[in-house]
């Protein structure tokens, strides 16, 4: 995929950080406001996708990118899985919300919910980016 014009590139560089921050905000406040791991993760992935679309994918070593996205995806989902079986290790049930609930309406509350959101956010962002980059490097030729 080729990159776009200078105007697009400049503006992209300006706003991509803001989009990224917004995604992180959505992920972290999932238990207080609408949003959460999924929406936030996709927004974070959107920041990267915008970057690739504007700059073009030829200069990137996409093979490495793909593997790295896949790695982060595995890590994110592994975090979530660990949180799930944490309950088993402490001798009770799967998916127990074992952290203290904290004070209502505060960022650090609701036990493992924010942590789960972070794991999901990482997984979803990496997953969406992996899907995108795999499609982006593909050459849509005619018959082989």
């Amino acid at each position: 995929m080729r990159g776009m014009t200078l105007i697009v590139k400049t503006i992209t560089r300006l706003i991509v950080g803001l989009i990224f921050l917004y995604g992180i905000y959505i992920v972290f406040h999932g238990h207080l406001t609408p949003g959460g791991g999924f929406a936030g993760g996709i927004i974070i992935a959107g920041a990267f996708i915008l970057l690739v679309l504007a700059e073009g994918s030829e200069e990137l070593s996409t093979e490495v990118k793909k593997w790295r996205a896949s790695l982060f995806e595995s890590l994110g989902i592994f975090i979530f899985w660990l949180l799930a079986i944490l309950g088993l290790f402490t001798g009770s049930v799967f998916f127990l919300n074992l952290l203290p609930k904290g004070k209502e309406y505060h960022l650090f509350s609701a036990g493992i919910i924010p942590l789960c959101n972070i794991g999901i956010g990482l997984e979803v962002a990496a997953a969406i980016f992996a899907i995108f980059i795999t499609f982006a490097v593909l050459k849509l030729g005619g018959k082989e």
């Binding site: 999932g30 238990h31 609408p34 929406a39 989902i77 997953a127 992996a130 995108f132 005619g142």
Partner: protein, 191 residues
């Protein structure tokens, strides 16, 4: 709720356009319109979480679909429909709609859900989970196991996409790259 009617009819028209229009790119764009309409419907139905997710997922779906259809020699969708097939399908659909109409009468009236389980979530949710976003408390606490499954589905799909789109799938005797060719054929001989 007149706005809901308008949006639903807009979505149905969009769907018909998406199915019937010849140009593939236009049809993908029409699907995008339906998806964005759906996102607004979710807002009207007081589901902001779902609306946000639908919005971002819709954009992503569009990117993927447009990537698939963007090609200079765009093949126009041929309408090669056979009369018999269409008649059978429409007959089936008519039967389906009539049966659905009968059964939908037994649903509680629109706007008055039964909320057998959900009333517990509403009453106890904040004190039991500590999350003020009740949807979040449902997906990550009461039904967190579903969410594990959902994340797994996404993970599976990414694995699937990478697997399906890799360059060489099968090691046949001819297609082997040079260095593995030697070992590969040796392996076959050993057996």
């Amino acid at each position: 709720m007149i706005d809901l009617y308008i949006l639903l009819i807009f979505m149905i028209i969009g769907a018909i356009v998406a199915i019937e229009v010849k140009d593939l790119l236009s049809s993908v764009v029409a699907v995008g319109a339906v998806g964005l309409g759906l996102s607004i419907v979710f807002l009207i139905l007081k589901a902001p979480d779902v609306a946000i997710t639908q919005l971002v997922v819709e954009i992503l779906c569009l990117i993927i679909l447009i990537r698939a259809t963007l090609k200079k020699d765009l093949p126009f969708s041929t309408s090669g429909r056979w009369v018999l097939n269409t008649v059978i399908t429409i007959g089936f659909i008519a039967v389906f709609l009539i049966a659905a109409m009968k059964c939908l009468r037994e649903l509680p009236e629109f706007g008055y859900p039964t909320m057998k389980v959900a009333s517990t979530y509403l009453k106890e949710g904040l004190s039991e989970t500590g999350a003020t976003n009740l949807v979040s408390s449902v997906i990550l606490n009461y039904r967190a196991y579903d969410t594990l499954g959902e994340v797994t589905v996404l993970f599976t799909a990414v694995m699937g996409v990478i697997v399906v789109l890799r360059k060489i799938g099968r090691r046949t005797r001819e297609k082997l790259p040079d260095e593995t060719k030697v070992t590969g054929s040796r392996k076959i001989e050993e057996k």
